[in-house]
Symmetry: C2
Subunit: 380 residues, 2 copies
């Protein structure tokens, strides 16, 4: 049975990236690595649309988020965190672990905060040091409008804008410089189409300035140390060399396609997925869905975990299941990274088969037809 | 753009096979290789459903066919060749190059000879030394009923039954021993899911006996030499080592799936493809189609080569085009080897997009829906 991965991290790895990583390993304290890392950094800046440094850690995306917090914040600071899912919750936990006061904007899972919600909160507490938000909440498929909210923050406050871009960087429009963001973190196993093991964080001048006065304990995740070494095209500690070699190739693929086209491709895949879901009589869980992952709400007669299990065991397709209180109520389809519209046709064929096996009533082929009609209606 | 190969050779290579071939190369005159080759030979016998030797050559499938001819035939012999396409023609050319008289059963491209056609011809010439036939004529997608024809040959003659199994072995039902076949050749880049470079030929006791008196000039392609070395689990000349290492893995995959299931999978893929083609208002070219490749006849208003070109350049999917007088009139979809039913959905989505681009009138999504309805109607 062929295996196909439709999870929002790890995501499928292009063959040319796998081959790049299979090359003999080289030592990281020499010219060869320096050249690779120089190219990688230019590529990361392109993906983030920034002229600022993008720091690379041997860590997961969570590590990169923690790096941003410990590097830019200080004891007793108060930050707003927009929390609407599993990952929003995680940022609250990290912040609290370091003694930061979290002023929560809690939204129901699947919903999104508005710029107005943030504006009101900022006005009620002018000492807010940072606004933390999750661009794409992977657990619910919900989008936070980073562009709009950042605009409001910039107009009303000096707060740092700290973004979890884990499932948005390299998938959805994100313009670090133009939007005035301060830190945006991601991980390698997402839009960057690599195995897990690298965490990244773009850092604004304002964020670097904050790092100079930050008094939180840190060593490995210290922006100042990382930024200093980046000037010499290296890292403070041993980098994950083969992943960085693979990253050079995946960044080349992104550059070749063009970042705007990458965003557009994700938007098309996501929309086709949503249309198919509706055609089958299911629901898109998120009110304002992100383009990297579609969470599908099933009716009470269906167990979403059964869909997940049958897809994997009978059709070799791995979806993501629901987490916490969404367990059994949603399943999630990834269209993040190395996918195209034809992969959406494939996953939907698998879902139709699975729904049929589970005796769910729907018009066979209607999901596929919805995608095909959408593709043709948008083709030039 | 993702690239997807839908050609009837080379065919896609499973990842585990690629990884097996990427292992450090070993020397072929030692125990390690002997063990691999021993396992490979058992696997080949399983695929061919035979207890007879299956000889391996570093060659293409054409080489294996030539090996059968030069090893089993003698100057001045007369053989029947059922010729209904590009490959049937090739066997005529090889036979004539060695001074063999060819008694042609010529069938229109896309049609298939019947057992009666062969019976009549055998009766009219009792000195026929062999009957040559192409199980799956790749150029037209037409099937020759090897089982029925072999039965007729066995009942009416002592002629050797020499089969081109290039696009049938490992894809369509073929039982070397039970059907009483004498030679069946194939190549590695087809149902065996490898890169090109290996040719195989199963050889009956009767064929080996014929090789003892054969007077055609030969050295590299000599069955006697190859069979002798096979007893020691090696080959007379340097084998294509990495391909054989990969073959061990692909044969393991076939064994794991079960050969009957492999045949069934191909039958399902082919049928789904044919149904989709008809739903789109196109025609299956072959009267009795094989399960490894579907040749699609387009109406005069369409240029099949344009379909081929647009699929490749715009959607990254490589089909096969028509050959000789079928150029521009047909295109061919492979479902031979490492494919599953979801790949058929994918290729059909590509074809629908292409037909739309070429302003061909059809109901968008109807091809996909035909496949999905067929899948669901046949699922348990």
């Amino acid at each position: 049975m062929k295996k196909r991965l439709f999870t929002p991290g790890p995501t499928p790895i292009p063959e040319s990236v796998m081959l790049a990583m299979a090359q003999p390993i080289l030592h990281h304290r020499n010219k060869d690595f320096e050249e690779i890392f120089r190219e990688v950094n230019l590529g990361l800046q392109y993906v983030y649309q920034t002229s600022r440094p993008v720091l690379t850690f041997a860590s997961s995306g969570t590590g990169a988020m923690e790096a941003a917090f410990v590097s830019c914040l200080s004891k007793g600071d108060t930050v707003i965190n927009i929390e609407g899912g599993k990952f929003g919750e995680r940022w609250t936990k990290i912040l609290q672990a370091y003694g930061i006061n979290v002023d929560l904007i809690k939204v129901e899972w699947g919903k999104s905060a508005t710029a107005d919600d943030v504006k009101i909160r900022l006005k009620s507490n002018p000492k807010i040091k940072a606004v933390v938000m999750t661009h794409s909440e992977t657990s619910t498929g919900a989008l936070t409008d980073v562009k709009e909210i950042s605009k409001i923050v910039r107009e009303n406050s000096d707060a740092l804008i700290m973004v979890d871009g884990v499932t948005s960087v390299g998938a959805m429009e994100l313009k670090f410089d133009e939007w005035g963001l301060d830190t945006v973190a991601t991980g390698s196993q997402k839009g960057l189409m690599l195995p897990p093991g690298l965490g990244f964080c773009a850092v604004s001048a304002r964020a670097m300035k904050a790092s100079e006065t930050s008094d939180l304990p840190k060593f490995y995740f210290d922006f100042k140390r990382a930024e200093k070494e980046l000037g010499a095209f290296t890292t403070p500690f041993t980098p994950a060399i083969s992943l960085i070699t693979g990253l050079r190739e995946s960044l080349r693929l992104i550059r070749e396609e063009g970042i705007e086209n990458v965003w557009k491709r994700h938007s098309h895949m996501a929309e086709s997925c949503r249309l198919a879901v509706k055609a089958l009589g299911l629901e898109v869980f998120a009110e304002k869905p992100a383009n990297s992952v579609t969470a599908v709400k099933v009716p009470p007669s269906l167990d979403a975990d059964m869909v997940f299990k049958a897809m994997k065991s009978k059709y070799g397709m791995t979806l993501a299941s629901g987490q916490d209180h969404l367990k059994g109520k949603i399943f999630r389809i990834s269209h993040l990274g190395h996918y195209d519209i034809f992969d959406m046709v494939t996953v939907m064929a698998g879902i139709e088969n699975t729904l049929h096996d589970l005796k769910f009533k729907f018009e066979p082929g209607s999901g596929l037809q919805a995608i095909q009609q959408y593709i043709l209606s948008t083709s030039n």
